[in-house]
Symmetry: C2
Subunit: 321 residues, 2 copies
Amino acid sequence: MTTRFGRVAVLGLGLIGGSLLRAIRQTGLSVVGYDIDPQTGSAASAAGFPVTASEASAVHGADLVVLAMPLPEVKGALQSLAAHLSPDAVLTDVGTLKSPVLELVHGIIPSARFVGGHPLAGTENSGWAAADPLLFRDAPWALTLEPDTDLRAWIALAELVCDLGAKPVPATASEQDTAVAHVIGLPHVLAEALALTGLTGGELGLSLAAGSYMTGSRVARTRPDLVATWCDGNPELVRALDDVITQLQYARANLAADGSVLDLALAGHTARMNWERRRFEPVELTADATALLEHGRRGGWITAVLRDADGVRLLGMRPNP
Amino acid sequence: MTTRFGRVAVLGLGLIGGSLLRAIRQTGLSVVGYDIDPQTGSAASAAGFPVTASEASAVHGADLVVLAMPLPEVKGALQSLAAHLSPDAVLTDVGTLKSPVLELVHGIIPSARFVGGHPLAGTENSGWAAADPLLFRDAPWALTLEPDTDLRAWIALAELVCDLGAKPVPATASEQDTAVAHVIGLPHVLAEALALTGLTGGELGLSLAAGSYMTGSRVARTRPDLVATWCDGNPELVRALDDVITQLQYARANLAADGSVLDLALAGHTARMNWERRRFEPVELTADATALLEHGRRGGWITAVLRDADGVRLLGMRPNP
């Protein structure tokens, strides 16, 4: 392991934070956890993890601090830890939307070496009890890269993400939030709408609901307040909803005119199958923000960070058109 | 086995017809198959099933005839077999929409003892090669009951469906098509729209697409022409789309006004969890069309047909509120 971090503090020990605490310790690093809920802290402590009684003591001496609480709690956490964060420490988070967190960090700890992070690794379960050190295996993990991002901090974090078995994807906060509107916000809103209106067919419909309803509404099992934090405040989701509403109105008009949904079904089927059938090729990248962002825009990710006498090189994969 | 059928002809040996041929033979009945595609017929024959060279010879001597071809081929099949169907034979089908088939049968073979059927047992796969005798295990199976339906034919078919491990659900063709618009048509149209517009976020979105996009668009893997036959010509699907578009417009307006999707997420989550958590109780039913239809409207199904000196009784399950 070549990761440059010695002691990692994870603040918030739910599904993602708890899984991270377990996964990072498995890479051989020293970890410490904190949770605002004392019961969660006790559970982590009983499982053999060092847990502190305050954010301040967790952050003290940590060279990587992970904000793993829900978005509404990030502001308070930043205020609590601001005075205790080492100037050299790298700060990251694991939330779905990156622009709101970037704004909070700029406002509260403008000098922080911050790199926004978003592991795409949720399940419908939540809480410390569901934590799993293998949760991040093969998961894409957006890492934000802005003009003022410390590139060394970004690379160190990318290296740790690789060590967890995940796939660091370089993107600006704005680019990642746009993508997330389409592939996370939109699927969740559609699943909620299907779960609700799919059942307006009455009891007979309830008993005939089978595979397509079951998988189509699966993520409506997620805690509604979490879904809201993944959707609210993302202007691109408004545009994604406009797009999907237009498609549905088109299908509706065709059906009402004794036409067919075949056009939409052909286009949807093609999109889905092309996505499944993507193939990738290895690529070597320079440690340069512009090159990394271009790699991310093309659908690429990082697979390894190599350090030798000539400096740092990154290996990656990208779609093979 | 108390099923009243001696010889069953299955016309169309794709996923559903092929699975039926295998499943019905496992109940001990004599089966014969036919497929318009000679290669499919040969494959079934090579697997040890009697296969005829024409619809007419399959139907000859059969006391149950199953139309298991796609909807666009049903009309031609009815015309081919009309002159060969025994007056005592029961005729059924396995298509998603029941009203169009009912209309065709009334027009082409008005004297047929027809009971429309719809097993909710598809997968994303298709064709004889995917046929599985266990496909119908625990699957709801709508069986239509109209004012002119022969109740003895209906009960005999319900008994066979129980023997296949499935759950006969009594409904009129119109009621079943309304329910299907909400729980099959709507989920498929939404999955197609998500598959398509979910990917308009560019290559970065493709690489961040994870669980919610993957399951939300799963049924867009289905052959588009099949999806069209499940949706087209169902007026209730227009209303279901209107409902879902209204929900999406409401969520969109909230988001655009810096509000939240929480309302929709709460409602969707509640609907999904209530559906999952339904509990059922056993019930005994008289062999009466009105009672059976009321049972179906309440979300009930048949579990067994009992024949004794006093006549026929049916056992069923229904939601326990």
